[in-house]
């Protein structure tokens, strides 16, 4: 496929060639022209075999026929006009859209933050981390159970419209391999009787219809409601789908009666429910561009700091009875850098299981999805010679159940993609690529230990050699990757999309 510029170029070349071919006829005519003509003393035109000859001929003619005080400015004028045109075309590809700029995004983010603080005053049990865990469970089960009889187990968590909508869809469709990439609270609304939270979810899943599967990447906006003024359930009832009354795993009748405790769970009275959800973006996920590298766009962007960071730092120091200036370098070395190197080493070697204990379930699933996608395309993403140049503490959140720290890590590494034969298919294994990322670590409130003991289970002390996909120690059956024992990495956000 040739683009418009190439087409124009070929057209000009054809035209020049054509003129060269027919020029002898003109010459004859010109000789016969009243007033006579001039003989030509040098150079000869080719037959127009190539466009380069024509342009070279044109420049040659300009310089040979015209005196320097005309020919030089003439060529300069053509050159300038060409450049002006190129620059104009470049500017004209820009599009202005009614999307928020950096400042507006920052202001919106701050607004959401203050709304969360407002919610925490009414509901001291509210924890963003736990809420998003709940959203993740609902999203996952919604699609896993879609069109199956288990879907009724969601009845206490779905609004009437959502239940009606779900019944319209063909039960021949099956959704599997659901991976949530990121979740973000996009709106919080307070009404007299209702509190609402909208969450944007980036995910991908496989949809199978009549044994034919398609992988989709999508963004959806889910709107949750609950009665105003109620308290969020304790973590055990938020981290998995459970009866908000007795805490038993979700097993409900069509009418929302818990099979375990017999309580009818009315939507929104004890727990959040989905009022509506809609697709914002949906595309078929293709692996053809996996080895393609775009230039880093956000490394030079200014760091976004939380407005109330210092207040939280003081609060954190008091809570743990520590001196921030002493604790910070130790945290940087033992947690941030250590985790960074270990996780990316495991990523490069496709051995993510080795760092299972350092990653939350959602992040692990997301990493595994990409590793498997690379694998299925016969590729591996390698990160070598990793070097951290700077770490900036940008954000801290403290709530009743969890504390989180977000840092911006500036690093560089050889970042490239190889195929099965070891051939580099994208990136460079010679030139380091500088980048920055925002990493968010979480830990259960009240836990004092920072770094993870990599060789043993933090609960039973048994060797950490049997930690399954779910992050559970097979010796004692304890889940060790939920921040109950030390910091775990929960979110990685690219610098160009981080808003705070």
């Amino acid at each position: 496929m040739i683009n418009k510029k190439q087409r124009l170029f070929y057209l000009l070349i054809t035209l020049l060639t054509f003129i060269f071919i027919i020029s002898p006829f003109f010459i004859d005519l010109l000789w016969a022209r009243p007033g006579g003509g001039h003989s030509y003393s040098g150079g000869g035109s080719g037959s127009g075999g190539s466009g380069g000859d024509g342009i070279a001929m044109l420049i040659y003619l300009i310089f040979s026929l015209l005196p320097p005080y005309i020919s030089i400015p003439l060529v300069i004028v053509i050159f300038i006009l060409y450049n002006i045109n190129q620059r104009k075309n470049k500017n004209e590809n820009k599009t202005v859209i009614s999307s928020p700029g950096f400042q507006a995004k920052y202001a919106k983010h701050n607004n959401i933050e203050s709304e969360i603080q407002k919610l925490k005053i009414v509901d001291p049990n509210f924890s963003r981390i736990l809420f998003l865990d709940f959203v993740s469970s609902i999203f996952n089960k919604y699609y896993t159970w879609y069109g199956t009889k288990e879907f009724k187990n969601l009845s206490p968590f779905l609004g009437e419209q959502e239940i009606l909508n779900s019944k319209r869809t063909s039960n021949r469709q099956r959704i599997t391999e659901i991976v949530i990439g990121s979740m973000k609270i996009s709106e919080i609304k307070f009404f007299q009787n209702i509190t609402g939270i909208a969450v944007d979810i980036n995910a991908n899943y496989t949809l199978t219809i009549k044994n034919k599967s398609t992988r989709y990447s999508l963004t959806e906006r889910w709107y949750f409601n609950r009665k105003a003024g109620i308290l969020s359930p304790e973590p055990e009832k938020m981290q998995k789908l459970a009866c908000p009354n007795c805490g038993a795993p979700a097993d409900f009748t069509d009418n929302g009666v818990c099979q375990s405790c017999g309580t009818k769970i009315n939507t929104g009275e004890m727990q959040w429910f989905v009022k509506k959800h809609n697709v914002i973006n949906l595309n078929v996920l293709r692996t053809s561009g996996l080895a393609h590298y775009e230039p880093e766009r956000g490394t030079m962007l200014p760091t976004i700091y939380q407005g109330s960071l210092n207040t939280f730092l003081v609060q954190f120091s008091q809570l743990h009875n520590l001196d921030w200036n002493t604790w910070r370098p130790s945290f940087e070395e033992k947690v941030i850098k250590e985790y960074f190197f270990r996780i990316y080493e495991a990523w490069s070697k496709n051995r993510l299981k080795k760092v299972r204990n350092l990653l939350t379930d959602r992040l692990y699933e997301s990493f595994m999805f990409w590793i498997n996608t690379y694998k299925s395309a016969g590729l591996t993403n390698k990160l070598e010679n990793i070097n951290i140049s700077n770490v900036q503490f940008v954000r801290m959140d403290l709530d009743k159940f969890y504390e989180s720290i977000t840092v911006r890590i500036f690093a560089s590494s050889l970042d490239y993609v190889v195929d099965k034969s070891g051939k580099v298919r994208g990136g460079s294994n010679k030139r380091p690529r500088a980048f920055s990322e925002y990493w968010t670590f979480i830990r259960r409130t009240g836990v004092e230990k920072d770094e993870y003991d990599y060789s043993t289970c933090p609960n039973c002390g048994a060797p950490a050699d049997k930690i399954g996909q779910a992050g559970v120690c097979e010796y004692c059956g304890t889940k060790i990757n939920n921040g109950d024992f030390s910091w775990v990495l929960a979110i990685i956000t690219q610098d160009e999309v981080y808003t705070g």
């Binding site: 002006i84 202005v96 009614s98 973006n281």
Partner: protein, 207 residues
């Protein structure tokens, strides 16, 4: 396009948010430098000028070097082509008005479809597409919004938007016009309590 700077973007976003808070409509504004390349026009202009110049040279009473004739002819073509590409009012003058309007509409409809503006439950998405070179504004409401607002109001909205190109500062005139829409949308498509925006803030439209 210089008028549509970051300051304009911030103001536009604020106004859009204000309208959406007071109405169920979801407005997406998109401003593009042009809805087509129209290179054929520049090539036509270049060819015509080349023909005229070569004709004049052919029958001129002045004595001109034969290769200079050849050179001037080609040079005329190149210069006219680039000048037509660069001087926008001249290029616009050469293009049929219907074509300018039709191209804007085609582009606007494509953006509406590709941008997913139709993905609102109540079909209340409204695209306001501004094509600067064509000096055209194309307002495309989704079915719900289209039927909720009387046609007379839509015609007024369209006419008012079209008048922004008669003002000195197109960007400010555009903001003033979009502000006026708040009242109309609030009156005919009032907001629903406990609802959310269904279109993303960061709409990606790559055509």
């Amino acid at each position: 396009m210089k008028q549509f700077n970051d300051d304009f973007k911030s103001k536009l976003y604020e106004i859009t948010e204000d309208i959406e808070n007071n109405s169920l409509v979801e407005i997406v504004t998109l401003i593009k430098a042009k809805s087509g390349f129209y290179r054929d026009i520049s090539l036509w202009a270049a060819s015509v000028s080349m023909f005229l110049v070569s004709s004049w040279l052919m029958f001129s009473k002045f004595e001109i070097n034969v290769y200079l004739i050849y050179l001037i002819t080609i040079f005329t073509f190149i210069i006219t082509y680039f000048l037509t590409e660069i001087i926008k009012p001249w290029k616009r003058f050469l293009i049929n008005k219907k074509r300018l309007k039709r191209n804007t509409e085609i582009y606007g409809r494509a953006i509406f479809q590709k941008g997913g503006i139709r993905f609102t439950n109540e079909k209340t998405g409204v695209l306001i597409y501004v094509s600067v070179f064509e000096k055209q504004v194309f307002v495309l409401p989704d079915r719900g919004a289209f039927t909720a607002v009387p046609d007379e109001e839509w015609q007024n909205i369209n006419e008012n938007f079209q008048s922004i190109f008669n003002q000195n500062n197109t960007a400010d005139a555009f903001l003033a016009e979009i502000k006026k829409c708040k009242k109309i949308f609030a009156e005919y498509i009032p907001p629903v309590e406990n609802d959310i925006n269904e279109l993303p803030d960061d709409l990606e439209v790559d055509l």
